[in-house]
Symmetry: D2
Subunit: 360 residues, 4 copies
Amino acid sequence: MSSSDRVLNAGVLGATGTVGQRFIVLLSQNPMFRIHSLGASERSAGKAYRLATKWKMSDLIPEAIKDVLVKPCDPSQFSGCDVVFSGLDASVAGEIEKAFFEADFAVFSNAKNYRMIPNVPLCVPVVNTDHYALVASQRAERGLKKGFIVTNSNCSTSGLVVPLKALQDKFGPLRRVMVTTLQAISGAGYPGVASLDILDNIVPLIAGEEPKMEAEVMKILGGVTTDASACAPLTDLRVSATCNRVPVLDGHTECVSLEFAGAPPSIEEIKQCLREYTCEAQSLGCYSAPKQVIQLAEQEDRPQPRLDRNAGDGMSVTVGRIRECPVFHVKFTLLVHNTVLGAAGASILNAEYAAKKGYL
Amino acid sequence: MSSSDRVLNAGVLGATGTVGQRFIVLLSQNPMFRIHSLGASERSAGKAYRLATKWKMSDLIPEAIKDVLVKPCDPSQFSGCDVVFSGLDASVAGEIEKAFFEADFAVFSNAKNYRMIPNVPLCVPVVNTDHYALVASQRAERGLKKGFIVTNSNCSTSGLVVPLKALQDKFGPLRRVMVTTLQAISGAGYPGVASLDILDNIVPLIAGEEPKMEAEVMKILGGVTTDASACAPLTDLRVSATCNRVPVLDGHTECVSLEFAGAPPSIEEIKQCLREYTCEAQSLGCYSAPKQVIQLAEQEDRPQPRLDRNAGDGMSVTVGRIRECPVFHVKFTLLVHNTVLGAAGASILNAEYAAKKGYL
Amino acid sequence: MSSSDRVLNAGVLGATGTVGQRFIVLLSQNPMFRIHSLGASERSAGKAYRLATKWKMSDLIPEAIKDVLVKPCDPSQFSGCDVVFSGLDASVAGEIEKAFFEADFAVFSNAKNYRMIPNVPLCVPVVNTDHYALVASQRAERGLKKGFIVTNSNCSTSGLVVPLKALQDKFGPLRRVMVTTLQAISGAGYPGVASLDILDNIVPLIAGEEPKMEAEVMKILGGVTTDASACAPLTDLRVSATCNRVPVLDGHTECVSLEFAGAPPSIEEIKQCLREYTCEAQSLGCYSAPKQVIQLAEQEDRPQPRLDRNAGDGMSVTVGRIRECPVFHVKFTLLVHNTVLGAAGASILNAEYAAKKGYL
Amino acid sequence: MSSSDRVLNAGVLGATGTVGQRFIVLLSQNPMFRIHSLGASERSAGKAYRLATKWKMSDLIPEAIKDVLVKPCDPSQFSGCDVVFSGLDASVAGEIEKAFFEADFAVFSNAKNYRMIPNVPLCVPVVNTDHYALVASQRAERGLKKGFIVTNSNCSTSGLVVPLKALQDKFGPLRRVMVTTLQAISGAGYPGVASLDILDNIVPLIAGEEPKMEAEVMKILGGVTTDASACAPLTDLRVSATCNRVPVLDGHTECVSLEFAGAPPSIEEIKQCLREYTCEAQSLGCYSAPKQVIQLAEQEDRPQPRLDRNAGDGMSVTVGRIRECPVFHVKFTLLVHNTVLGAAGASILNAEYAAKKGYL
């Protein structure tokens, strides 16, 4: 029986944090997974989940999870798990994820630590699942049978690369991309952004976000080497990102201008390209794959985070205001749900894809 | 006795609206002007000001103004006024401002109606007071003795042109400018933006704002023809604006990337240039001229609207995050108080300048 | 076949407003109803629904509804409807609802116009469905066969009466109730509250709300006369309401202190009473009846509108902070979803109840 | 020369926190004081103030303070100070304030630690400066010459007691007071309330606030024993407080219902009483005393925090919506600036009063 036909046991590392909470909400509704083990810091270990976490989701804590005892993030405690999702903070993710990976677990991580390692897929599941080809190299390197690590991207990156990938596939390489983001507070975790910093305010800096976003785009939109031993990031594209924090709960808005390397398509051709874009996770019938990868906003004052962030249950990217740019070729505004496609949802769809393709 | 030595009688058109309220707050604290007459719609005319307006400023209604009777916006009612400020809505400003102008009044308008007329100064008072040279042409055209009209720019334009002007003066022409704005709700007047549209939300469109901003920059950064009969907008600069509404009360944040036509200066040279920029309104000793036209933010996560909008009593532009742009030459973030330098404050400083230069 | 066994055709009056939009979202997910006709103003009539409305819900417009043509609110256009839901504004609801009622339609109204008419049930469906006894009187008065009108209460009332009813049923009459509300902006419709009025602000007045709330509580918690010809409001209870508007999208928070007429129960007895409260709509198996009418908040800093408003899909009331009051007997804080149990959801459950009981 | 005729040297303890920042803003504008020494934690000591603090005020850091070196909070470092203001956190205030007091400093504290000590004045300076009579007892107890400690109240208490005092003085004792607060986030300091907890939300609990408020009212509205050795709190008043956190930056709104012990005055008499209320700090000509202790809101939908919090430069309390209560005698809504009259401003006016009366 292939792993895609049975329910997989899932472990969640960092289960008490905001990304961990989102993992739990999404996994509880997902027929491909059963939550098997919850891991958190030593401080939480041994407590019932509902007592160990400060729940901040609008969805209630799933009944079945409330009294699950939290474990320490130690691979020996997670035997029985077919897959491990990590919502760990970067400060601890490096060591713990490595331990699970070396203990032959399939790890799907939301942390930044291993994203830029050449043979680790940095995978937005509606964009570059072809990077799974790197898994064999990982296993060979460490002599593993089942273990590997797949990371998902920064939340703001995950929105941007979706239309860029669609356009690049259809109209050839891009030359220059300028993006300004308006990012939701949930991207900073809990307690995260102080209310005194963001009520009636904008914070025009998210430390480290801009270079991260610029580098991740190059890797995701690139390919892998012919021997599948490393990723092969783009080299000719130039990306400039400016990142702002805004008083919005969920949903990153991104204003994008771009220039094609070759002759630009018309606005109508661009719209059609985005509307028709599909990905392999859809054709494989993955549960979390959105019906429509890119939704075009029907109204000219959309997308808006409050109204559009749940498009495709948070797994679609909504694109609107597609128009000519007086400086580059085209401008548009996109919206991505930063904790779904931008975080936990991406990891889960990455795992579904892995199951369908026999990696689990 | 020159007009700059005596207190000038000021009329305010559209006195009950949000721009009108800001005019009243600022004029009440300004030693160069005495509020003489308040004009509003027929519905308000005849009422005491405090009953005619729905006051929304944090500053209280000035005591001396509370019981002033509102007049209709008819030039015959404003005799005795040395200067007329217009905070009228564009839907009525065209006709009314024309009537005052033709009745030989000096009109300082915040409305968009006459901004793009070739011999009407579109004047950000810390940037292009040299456009006052057009006044003679206006008077000649209509056979007026004292009357003329000076407009100030759109609120988002007024912030952008300040550093652009400083850089252009010092380092020569700019080639390309990309700007994404995060604009405060007060820019839309009252009732303006519905709370259901902006709480926990971003609106990625401000109707008509982007082309207006792109065109105004060209006029303001340009000069006037040698016979001073018309403005001479720039032709070689390309500007692309993307405008968003955000849940902030006052203060427009703008993320700017730009490319010089020639070799770019260093980041340090740019900082020094901005810091040292001065304007004629300062050297004339105009009351509302800020001590520092451009304030450089000292902290890397600034400017922030809540903390920086009142820099220079709202008449300074704060610039921060000055850094190299991976796509163009330089990127920075600026903040302008949209109802002070971006609206009423600009009109008032324009009038102070006019007084000092003998136009009143 | 009884009406409770078949899908009922529903008309929605005022379909383009915020309450109308909520009716459409809820009815689209409700197996007991099929949306048959949408009515709105003459201005909207004849247009496809998606073009006639300015959709503000986070849920997308149901596909099946997008292109339904909007009708004028004229009974002759609604033949085929088994039930008519009214989300009309009070300014027009009086005349239109009367026309439908007299044309023998069963009308479930969210408007205030007929709430205080003695033989019109003012019905919070988890509280006082016994008031349906008044329907016969309505029909007799006008010689109707099927027509009647049932109103639901003001949104803030609908939350308050639920725990009061539970306590009154169990521990006998209440003597005094003091309530201070913190009401969400969605209660004011669209455009409703201006953002300049509510960002970083509280508005301590909701015009007309306090006396409405005080009077509605008396009617709902009272009974009907023995001949079922009129309601019999309480006379001995005294209620004092203070209503504030706060910057929250959905969910009214209410701080309640109360005094029993007799000896007060203990805090533990009160908690148990609230937890165990059930209503007839539940036992009849109505689709929209919440599993738990009153949810007790488990954490001491709850209920919170963002986290708890969707309890029971918006049909439960969440009560927390139950403690002794130094002045009265007991204090607590409750939360009600103002546009679900507080508006459209109540109307729909009222109609489900009517169907189950054979009124339709 | 009396201390009221010369500029006093002021020390500020906890200078880098939010209350400390407010002290610095207010003292910088106050002609009676000169900032002499700034104290903070060991971590900050030795740094320039602008580097030691994370400045969050809308007013800029005063130029004269920017480069002042921060000291540790040790009395030996504060010689030369005539008065010491404490904005320390309660976790450290107990020990440090005691050290200063015992070292013969006059300490004005915003912390809660000593508020309920019988011979420590808990003084809202527009309400109960008669409690300064306790100072002699403090000095006698410790054999001090100049030292004493005066505390100001909790921020929400400071608003409530002002109208209560006015009414009690004029119409005799109160019997019962019910108050529900809507408190600003600045009351929780920085970082304080997480934005994820308060955007689109209400938090219906402020830990420890309700009993604190209830007890402080009793002490402040009471007197002192005839031998001036202890305060004599009220015993017959009953107060019930419910405290909520709301998404407002500054300004606590409080909804109050009250019952007089005797026959109630009319609403008009109450308005007149509040309007005419004066305090000794006014008649002494203290710089920070507001012109009007209680401002009556002129519009029925006021007070509103954004519009009214700066009344009297934050030292006035604004009262509106004065009306009969169906349960008690009268209801009204008040607003107090929680970091001015509710914190630093109260301490400063307390010190001004002490100077005028010869306590310094």
